[in-house]
Symmetry: C2
Subunit: 388 residues, 2 copies
DNA sequence: GCCAAATAATTCAGGCAATAAACAAATCCG
DNA sequence: CGGATTTGTTTATTGCCTGAATTATTTGGC
């Protein structure tokens, strides 16, 4: 069988694209392998010949994307292998986050290590969007200087925003920040002189969960803050929707005739399982009861997600992560009752691996992921960047 | 900018894959263009050079996938162009459907024309799965003979089933047929000696809506029969879920404390908007009221879908299609209330283009789509098939 | 201690597919 | 009728992968 290219077809392929694709294949295979891997192992893992892999690896090493490291443990006779691993001094991603009461920036390298991390606590509501973003750009600039002092060059930046973000990087609405129609990408790009991506915080937090997972995982990441957002990872890729507004699980209806929501509808999930709802319910009765009720509502909404999307894993993040021991029971009870296929295959429910840093970390991951998925572009860009 | 291959990377690419990809690109571009297109226009549409396009087209014509037709209307000076169009005598797809009270088969060619259509009305519940499938195989065999009498060769078959179908073609459950764990693919493949795909009827019906749509549409297709199923088309591809069980919208919760559903949960959409629910409600009050109530429930469930997936179009099919004039009002009212982004961008609601044939037609489409997306495989197969 | 077996990595000729540029074909228009 | 124009083909060149042969480096048996 001839290996097939992905199904959707809308751009021509030429020899250079073949190279680009195979460079990405080699690099991602090295990055995703737990231990250093030899060229020979890489060849058999990818299906390319050893000759080709050698050439690709040479190019990736020359481009500071891979390095040779100590060989993996020996296994019998033969010439020892040279181990390959992502280069710690290769391009880094700048992960940025803005929220109601803090600004944050981090620097993550190709190995996934966080090299620097800066957080600035300050209420962002009094200042306007331009000021907030310029404060963030300053923080990002400091993070970048720290990175450059280590000899690290940033491939780009990504920003996590608690709001609706369009595909063009414009923030349409960010209720808690009081933002409306803010071209965050343009503003940051101008100040940083770097490619900048902007995305919803739940989407980026979901991406951060993708780090450890092998294969092509599909899961819903639910982030419980003041609002409730979800990031959908389907077949290993973040699904953003037609306009980038996917994952608004907070306004899924739990009780169509329930209390009025600030969105104008009635009985939204947020009213039952949002941070404020949990707190006020805890004050009225007990924390245990409040969490049971919230878990039940979450379970109803998540059952709808699983019925619709057939994902096999649910990740609870943000404010929900520490509450998982209390929430898991009621959520699972509802899933068992309402997911049509529950008896055929279970749904895994787990807490997010990262805590409050998930969105910022996912933002940085998004940058290095873009380098991993198109190393040829980075290599070309790197040279022209140095020339300028 | 170098054209980029799709993001996910897990197979090596070699020269033959380049050819395969560009053959698919050329073929799908011709198929998707409304009028016959010239080689030169094809070159500028795809971004390939005219020389390359000529070579690709020669191969596609030799393989009975394209034909030269009358040139499109002239536009000024220059050598007249030769028109290209999908070949009507190329490979055909066999679309099959099994349901409670009928079996059906159709033959669809590369141009999308239905060449033959056979329906056999008979209650399938009394017979067991093996018998039903062998009856279907017989019907499919007749359709295939009709096609072969026209000199048409079947590239494969696809079967639409009202139930949960795994990725391996096994039917896990089909409640209305009384099926459980039926390896429909193996049984049909053995009798037809053709590659057979099996999928849920709503999924395939959704595919049939993809025919006219250009670009990379994203929509939900909702099919209202005895149960309610949905097919999700995201970015131009059918999303099947991890195990192939996506789209079970019928058991999304409308009222968590509502009446008991046969699935074991309470207040599922099916109890408010299923065929039986509408009929009994109509008997109790009036048809108009029954449809308003059903529309309201559908609107609540669809608002959840739109909030989660950010699709911009909803297609009502199956039993809902003729009811759209009555359902649209209440559905839209709920969408307006509950979809968070409704004010930013509207959601289009429309009736399915095809009626009862949608699933069978979508099945045939799936087959010819697979040829269009990998013509190289068909060309290789075709030769070896003739040799044997 | 040395040689055979084994495994890793590189080198080199060959082939395939795309590109670019020149050429041939067929029409319009003045 | 001849130049301009557009379509489609031919030819030389280039890039990248493959496969086989070659070099490099170790283990293990005698």
């Amino acid at each position: 069988m001839t290996p097939r290219l992905p199904a959707f077809t809308d751009a021509p392929v030429r020899q250079s694209s073949v190279r680009a694709h195979n460079l990405a294949l080699a690099l991602t295979t090295v990055v995703n392998s737990a231990n250093p891997i030899s060229r020979a192992a890489l060849a058999s893992a990818t299906g390319l010949t050893r000759a080709t892999v050698s050439a690709l690896v040479d190019e990736l090493i020359a481009g500071d994307l891979l390095t040779e490291v100590e060989p993996p443990p020996r296994t019998g006779a033969g010439r020892p292998a040279a181990g390959l691993a992502p280069a710690p001094d290769g391009p880094v991603g700048l992960g940025l986050e803005i929220n109601v009461d803090y600004l944050a920036a981090c620097v993550v390298d190709l190995t996934g290590a966080v090299r620097h991390r800066l957080v600035s606590h300050a209420d962002q509501r009094p200042v306007d969007a331009a000021q907030a973003l310029s404060g963030l750009a300053a923080l990002a600039g400091r993070a970048r200087e720290l990175a450059e002092a280590d000899g690290l060059r940033a491939a780009g930046a990504a920003l996590a925003v608690p709001g609706l973000v369009g595909a063009d990087g414009r923030v349409r609405v960010a209720p808690n920040l009081g933002w409306q129609d803010v071209d965050a990408r343009a503003l940051l790009q101008a100040e940083l002189d770097l490619p900048v991506a902007v995305d919803n915080e739940a989407n980026l937090a979901a991406l951060s969960e993708l780090r450890a997972a092998g294969g092509r995982p599909s899961f819903v990441y639910v982030s419980g803050e003041i609002g409730i957002g979800a990031g959908l990872v389907l077949d290993g890729t973040l699904y953003r929707g037609v306009r980038g507004w996917s994952g608004e699980i907070g306004h899924v209806s739990i009780d169509p005739d329930g209390p009025a929501c600030r969105c104008g509808a009635h009985g939204c999930l947020e009213l039952f399982a949002g941070q404020e709802a949990i707190q006020s319910a805890a004050a009225r009765s007990s924390t245990a009861r409040a969490l049971t009720a919230a878990g039940r509502a979450l379970g109803i909404a998540l059952a709808a997600v699983v019925n619709l999307l057939d994902v096999d894993t649910i990740v609870l993040g943000g404010g929900y992560a520490p509450l998982v021991p209390d929430l898991a029971g009621p959520i699972e009870a509802e899933l068992r009752r309402r997911v049509l296929t529950f008896d055929l295959a279970p749904v895994e429910l787990r807490a997010a691996a990262l805590g409050a840093d998930a969105a910022m970390r996912g933002a940085a991951d998004a940058v290095i992921r873009s380098v991993q998925q198109d190393p040829a572009a980075w290599l070309a860009n790197r040279l022209s960047g140095r020339a300028s």
